[in-house]
């Protein structure tokens, strides 16, 4: 009896050790990025390694914003917010309306159109950037917010997710509203949408993360400095200059903060979102 308890305790100790080591490995680079961004350039790759900054130097965070006239980081941050928020809202609109349409109406071609939309999962963004760029350019949307936002707001995952969600809403709610004389669009906005809060929040964080990180599309589409987004700005900041590491890392930390904060508040929904899109097999 006691030997069983001992092996169980050993097992659990080993498990905790392994899980804790894995956890540390996964958090450490972020921690290291923050720590190193506070080091002086002469200490940052010094031998022997200085784990903590010998001097805590906040200056890199100031210099990112002030010391490089070719880089306008406040503007990049603003642009990233504009593009991400708009693209997420647009994505919610497309996903909620069509998800609802596919889930709640039995019209001719429902399955065909749904398959068509879903088939776009097969089209990786990188495989269409060239013709997409030509199209967007012909529409006169090069170097515009709209040119960034519209293609980044389309995701078949979102449509799929909202359709799955609206399937789970009982038809009785809709039927009884119809009997009360509400029209179809009032039913959608006043009854169905409020029920979809959880699914919509999941989609918000899911899609915000994708838009915030997209690099190839802004690199292609945007050449005027006023429309550069943050991911692109940092990539150029790192590549163009002989930029000191503390300042690169400070810019990196700034780019991470909005999503880390969003994640802290909405982590529950993020996990649910992955589950909803990923697990209906």
């Amino acid at each position: 009896m006691s030997s069983v308890r001992v092996t169980k305790r050993t097992q659990s100790t080993i498990l905790y050790l392994v899980v804790a080591s894995v956890g540390i490995i996964f958090v450490f680079p972020f921690f290291w990025m923050v720590l190193s961004s506070f080091k002086l350039n002469k200490d940052i790759l010094a031998v022997p390694l200085r784990f903590f900054p010998p001097v805590w130097n906040w200056n890199s965070y100031v210099r990112v914003f002030t010391a490089y006239p070719d880089f306008n980081f406040p503007r990049y941050i603003l642009n990233s917010f504009i593009v991400t928020i708009s693209a997420v809202l647009l994505c919610l609109f497309f996903s909620a309306t069509s998800g609802y349409g596919f889930a709640k109406y039995r019209f001719k071609g429902n399955n065909f159109f749904f398959t068509l939309v879903l088939a776009t999962i097969m089209i990786p963004f990188q495989a269409i950037v060239v013709p997409l760029f030509i199209l967007v350019r012909q529409m006169g949307l090069q170097n515009s917010y709209a040119g960034l936002i519209i293609p980044e707001s389309l995701t078949a995952f979102g449509v799929f997710m909202m359709r799955q969600f609206f399937y789970s809403v009982p038809d009785e709610f809709i039927e009884s509203a119809r009997i009360d004389g509400a029209n179809e669009y009032a039913i959608f906005t006043r009854i169905s949408m409020p029920m979809a809060n959880t699914a919509l929040l999941a989609l918000v964080i899911f899609h915000a993360q994708w838009v915030w990180n997209l690099l190839i599309w802004p690199l292609i589409l945007i050449s005027t400095p006023e429309k550069v987004v943050l991911a692109q700005g940092i990539a150029l900041f790192k590549g163009g200059y002989n930029t000191p590491y503390p300042e690169q890392l400070a810019a990196g930390v700034i780019a991470c903060l909005p999503l880390v904060i969003l994640y802290i508040f909405l982590s529950k929904y993020f996990v649910q979102g992955i589950t909803m899109t990923g697990l209906k097999g």
Binding site: F26, L45, S95, F107, L116, I128, P131, L219, A231, G252
Partner: protein, 295 residues
Amino acid sequence: MRKASYSVTRLQRHGYIFILPTLVFFSLFLIYPIISAFRLSLFEWNLLAPKEFVGLQNFIKMAGDSRLLNSYLRTIHFSAVSVAAINLLAFVFAVMLGSRLLRFKNFWQSLIFLPVVLSIVAVGVVWEFMYQGTGLIPIVLREIIGVSPDWLTDTRVAPYAVIITYVWRSVGYYMVIYIAGLLGVPESYYEAARIDGAGFWAQLFYITIPSLRNTFTLAIVSCVIFTFGQFSIQYVITQGGPSRSTEVLSLLIFREAFRLSKFGYSSGISVIFFLTLLIFSLIQLRLFKSGAVGA
């Protein structure tokens, strides 16, 4: 009776209005471009001069393009190793976090998940920094095993530097998919197995893994699609170097089109890219459909 069914049909037609915006925008910005890629691949075009029809010449040129072949093989290598590592680790972590011996599961889960929500460019910046000669990784490795490769300058090692970064960043996402899958396995299966005297490994191989068959397929297939098009990490860490050892297809398309203005040729590469993924995607589509029917 007739009248009722007529009005029901009319009611159902409102569905068209709900799906209309999505259909229009998806057709214009996703379906039209992929068709357009096929058409453009038959032309030579730098966007300024008129398009010149060249038939299959781009594809003939591609067959003899050693740079393209290199990129293609690099992409497959990157994808195969990454997908295998990501899914193996994600599954193992999911099983570990599912153990009844472990408490504070949400805390551990969020630690492993953290890299998923970090900015990809920032991830590239910090790993490139850690791979430097006197950076953290070589110093720690020399401390522990005495040697460290030149992560960013050795053509045999650089692909793995990129893979490690990408795997680190992605595992948490797939881990959550596996955790969700594990929660779907009925507890009664395990109880029955324990009564029959099955140990941890027997339960793992005879219950857990077979029950997660769909989850595995779904996670792996979607992982292949995302990984095959990975661009940011290579762009930030290595820019395709050293000696093109990390120049994956998306970097090459980017370069051919937007640095060299070869829009026809790069469309040809996109077509090859797309066709390679098609077979994997078809499997995924079927999975999604079967899931949708089940809901």
